[in-house]
Subunit: 366 residues, 2 copies
């Protein structure tokens, strides 16, 4: 089985796509600015109505006293951990082995801030209270990522979160929320963002995952914390003269999509079921707890790519633009449900999964 | 003498303004994107045609092997100095006492990178070869800011630059150019940007001063240097999923304005002459060497504000939106000539300066 068309190219030619909101192209910005008044003044180095109003809005949404807009979550989270370390005069934090800071930031937390991370839990599961209680070293801060993206977006139970929060407050350990996908977990927990954030001392949220904006992040907490974060934002080179391109688009897509998270979540569960009905395919988690999950195949990357390209060509439905090898005979990709999923006619979806099921059965049984 | 209208408000109501290109409002972005194809793909974490083509264009313009786009100069320059320090295993650099890193970045270079700066020259003049030859300590890198903004945008002679470059190469000291206003000095030196940059190992340029873009910076040098800078860019939280809002606008306004620097420079010299003809007013430098200079008044901030508000109301010409106190009976503001200056009818300009001259004479002689 072979094909000459790469998966990415085949994906781009499909009529429908299972994942995401749409293409990440310049139209995303243009749409957000279309109805904005050109006379509106830019923010200026973190000041001005445009940035201040959005920060206040997000602080209220997250139930925190104050919020600061950052160009990136990488910057916001390193700074949050640095502040908590400085307060306790202890440059140690704890987080999951697959934490964004540990695997996607070129060790910025260590190289720029000299902070030593302690890795909690096995990398294949979420952090539980026992992992924290069992720590042999003191730390200034624990970071929880909800959902844990690199293992398909898994979540601890809400009771576990509450217990961790109580424990950390007792022990004088600050609790920071990596809420890159915070909006996306509110339907599963049946809690508001503010309720979830109340368990944490500081929280970061993103505007280009579930929200689908251009880029940008918010860091929220008590005012003395966010004021200190502004100083570090300048040190990091993040206090740009104008952040409005990100703020305007963050606000626009927040208004457009923050109410849709339950719909994305339902789509995610429905889609995971379809995958799990196919031989040699399983989702992680088996039942999603947000708009995201991972799809694992028990066949080689090359075989799966061939199968997918054929399905794309035969049905016009694109599943993914990539798959990543996990072994000689296994691979996976990540699903994030957005606006696109609901636009796919159910009949077409059914046909695409019939084909996937048939082709998988054929290949697995070989 | 008193007025009830603040200077900023009066300035905003004027028909003409002596400084800048225009208001920093959302229209700056909208104009840049108006003719862009919405289907064009975003850059993705530093890759993609949109960012790569602009980086290549700027590398060629600056005569360097490679260039990397950064969200800010603060980030780009700290990283440049860090790389040079790591190469020499010596965390010491030298720069002017009024260097941006020393006074505008909350000590990021020290707090994030543990780099110790040695301050060269008296703060009221530019760095000369003798200051460098006279250094008693070795350093990894010397940063020169051309023009030296905080003293009105002064420049050393080109021969001095050449001599410093030769000396640093002999001594194994890297030379970095803070070229936030590099385009603006090419008419005075009668050199291309690439010719000036050839004296330096690394260079940063900005896109929102003379160019008038939204924000953003380029760091350029040899490829191994810029590749290393990408790693630090990620550590700093500057490797955003999408930097295109800044890149598209940087490119648009670079194309629109980089050819206008000689015109701005001529305007600057003309305007400085008009100021220097008024009693109690002088410019620094006396004859500008770029599109910028400082205007110093030998009267209190309050008196000057009153005088300016009256002139704005009487002539419709706005000089500045602020003045800064330097003593009880002295104050100043910064001039940057941009697109606006050429739009002012010469007759109106003449009247405004006649009024300034009269009012200054009246007040100085009191």
């Amino acid at each position: 089985m072979s094909t000459n068309i790469p998966l990415l190219e085949a994906f781009k030619q499909t009529k429908y796509q299972l994942v995401g909101h749409g293409n990440r192209n310049l139209q995303v910005l243009k749409e957000a600015f279309e109805h904005m008044d050109g006379e509106q003044e830019s923010d200026m180095y973190g000041t001005g109505n445009l940035i201040e109003e959005f920060q206040s809005k997000m602080a209220a949404f997250l139930g925190k006293e104050s919020a600061v807009f950052f160009p990136s979550g990488t910057m916001a989270q390193q700074i949050a951990l640095r502040i908590w370390c400085d307060r306790k005069e202890l440059k140690k934090v704890a987080y999951h082995p697959l934490c964004h800071l540990e695997i996607h930031e070129e060790d910025g937390i260590k190289e720029l801030h000299n902070i030593e991370p302690i890795l909690l839990a096995d990398k294949n599961r979420v952090i539980e209270l026992e992992d924290i209680v069992g720590m042999t070293e003191d730390v200034s801060c624990i970071l929880l990522e909800l959902p844990q993206r690199e293992i398909g977006g898994q979540l601890p139970s809400y009771e576990t979160l509450e217990a961790i929060s109580v424990y950390c407050r007792e022990k004088g350990i600050k609790l920071h929320l990596d809420g890159a996908r915070l909006y996306e977990i509110t339907p599963y927990y049946q809690k508001t963002a503010a309720e979830i954030c109340s368990l944490f001392d500081s929280v970061y949220v993103s505007f280009y995952k579930g929200i689908g904006g251009v880029a940008g992040a918010i860091l929220a907490g008590e005012r003395d914390f966010t004021e200190e974060s502004r100083v570090w934002k300048k040190r990091h080179g993040g206090d740009l003269i104008s952040l409005y391109p990100y703020i305007v688009s963050a606000d626009y897509y927040f208004n457009k999509r923050s109410q849709n998270m339950a719909e994305y979540y339902e789509g995610s569960k429905e889609l995971a079921t379809l995958f799990n009905e196919c031989e040699g395919v399983s989702t992680l988690p088996l039942e999603p707890v947000s708009n995201m999950f991972h799809v694992h195949f028990q066949l080689s990357k090359e075989t799966i790519e061939s199968i997918l390209v054929k399905i794309y060509e035969e049905t016009g439905i694109g599943f993914t633009h990539y798959v990543r090898e996990t072994g000689e005979e296994s691979c996976y990709y990540e699903v994030s449900i957005g606006d696109r999923y609901a636009t796919i006619p159910k009949e077409n979806l059914k046909i695409a999964f019939q084909k996937l099921s048939e082709k998988m059965k054929e290949e697995v049984s070989q």
